[in-house]
Symmetry: C2
Subunit: 324 residues, 2 copies
DNA sequence: TTGAAAGCGCTACCAT
DNA sequence: ATGGTAGCGCTTTCAA
């Protein structure tokens, strides 16, 4: 690999001068500049990023910590983050935490050791304290780690209300809910939204709610049980698309027609939701936008620009498809 | 951030000694070692990876270049790569190339500038020459860039034969093919496999083949047209799951019953394929395993261990589900 | 068994 | 306008 020294030597100047043209900083005579630029071109010289990082204490890299890139909306989020980062001149290191605190801490440590400029994280387990210690900007996505920390979330409760109300308007009279994992804030919020709409109906009781653990398989089993217990159910609001798809499968097994006998609404708007048959009516989150905003905000934070807003609660939208 | 100097000073030794205990290399007196280790613990000192990288010319990082992390099997592949890399002590930088040569070259350049130890790449456009220049190990996945380069692929043709033959055995008498993008090797191979099985049947003609461009939307349109042109079709082999799902949707639109009137087989075995209704019969690739093998092989290459094999052609398996 | 110091490739300060 | 050089935090050679 050719280094700045080689360029300097061949150009008959000092490394300082080469550095100046590299960074477009400080005075350089026109002719020397040209000579150096030509040389850089010829040698196809690219400055060593690691050496730069060591000096700058920044590696032009950001860390992205997600529970599992295979799950629901993380591929799209990752894509948005990587796209935006690339545009702004950063690379992204992908980390799968499995929501495991130990792994998370390990990743946080090595990201810090690698001088990443900032971190985007989606986690329920990470604490504000862990983040404070890091001393680099962190933005939290999809989950609110603590007040004050830069955060991008969506209108979970509002979305749930929209979904449930929509089922009601469609004429559903017994609306069940497949809720997300215990202890996860957005699962809680979606549950609350559901309850706000039907909680005071005289038919309502807690047994219309099952836990699908944000997972398709669990949801199938839960739905089967739910429909056995309450065959009168004619509407289901699932707290994410995966579980809604599970519900579709369960209904299919029981030979229940969707949407004729049973309407189903999901939450997330993942690619999958448009690929099922029938296609899923769902509350779609602006996933790509979330990634964009998070990354842009992170970069602003990193560059210590002043930020107008560090808390975004993005709106969600009901997209009606074939399952209702 | 506390540095090796701080540790050395507090321990009353030189940085060299601290470095020795850090790397478990060279002689260190037992008592000094203990003192230093205790100090490291207390200070929660973590060595600066960037400084290390600069010296070692290796950053304990590998690059992963895929066309688009949102597409078909890349999330699972990325997961496998990251898991394996993490276990072996490496981070992974994610790059989305969109199969765009310029982007690819840019990524290759910055990965090299960042001293990544190796690169895993899935691309049709990258050339052997580009890789040679890099001078770091590269393994190619899903596509064969050139003979001699470490490669992981699957039995595309064989899988296609299995799929098509399976449809025949199921009693299908007019089997169509939705092929993948032009110029993509695996699309070609799958097409060949299909043709090997039905190409000599007397009913066969080229008009039973349409191009779905490895994309769901395109596939829907193509299937619609296909079924209009040849209403007698009772079996479809699609070159990937996304297109097979498109075919399901098209059939659904035309009110054609699957599998009663039409059987469909896909290729890939992505998560999606088990989420549709009806669930898709497909040729599943060992995606996770491909990622594992690629990463392990890459690390061996990086560490200059001797490699038994640099070319893997993994077997695929037909998984029968509801679409046939 | 330990320390001093060179050097990895670059940037930025201070001279000139 | 340009050069010399310290220093970023670490590893490794050479001496002691």
């Amino acid at each position: 690999m050719t280094s700045i020294k080689d360029v300097a030597k061949l150009a008959g100047v000092s490394v300082a001068t080469v550095s100046r043209v590299l960074n477009n900083k400080g005075y350089v005579g026109v002719s020397t500049r040209e000579k150096i630029e030509k040389l850089i071109e010829e040698l196809n010289y690219k400055p060593n990023e690691v050496a730069r990082s060591l000096f700058k204490k920044q590696s032009n890299t950001i860390g992205l910590i997600v529970p599992d890139i295979m799950n629901s909306f993380f591929p799209e989020l990752a894509r948005a983050v990587e796209d935006t980062a690339a545009t702004l001149g950063f690379n992204v290191i992908l980390c799968n935490s499995d929501e495991n605190s130990e792994k998370e801490q390990t990743y946080l440590d090595v990201l810090q050791q690698k001088y990443v400029n900032g971190i985007i994280v989606s986690s329920n387990t990470i604490t504000a304290e862990q983040i404070q210690k890091l001393n680099i900007p962190v933005v939290s996505i999809d989950r609110e780690i603590s007040k004050g920390l830069p955060t991008i979330v969506v209108e979970n409760k509002k979305g749930a209300i929209t979904a449930t109300q929509f089922l009601k308007n469609k004429g559903c009279t017994r609306i069940a809910h497949i809720r997300g994992s215990d202890g996860v804030v957005n699962a809680e919020e979606r549950y609350e939204g559901y309850k706000e709409v039907v909680g005071h109906d005289e038919w309502f009781e807690e047994s219309y709610i099952v836990n699908g653990n944000y997972d398709m398989r669990t949801s199938i089993a839960a739905t089967l049980e739910l429909l056995k217990r309450h065959p009168e159910i004619d509407g289901i609001f699932a707290a994410n698309d995966l579980m809604a798809i599970g519900a579709i499968k369960a209904a299919y097994q029981l030979d229940i027609k969707i949407p004729e006998q049973l309407s189903i609404v999901g939450f997330d708007g993942i690619t999958l939701s448009a690929a099922t048959t029938p296609e899923l009516t769902t509350i779609v989150q602006p996933i790509y936008e979330m990634g964009e905003i998070a990354t842009t905000m992170l970069v602003n934070l990193m560059e210590k620009k002043k930020i107008e807003k560090t808390y975004y609660k993005l709106d969600v939208e009901l997209v009606e498809r074939e399952s209702t």
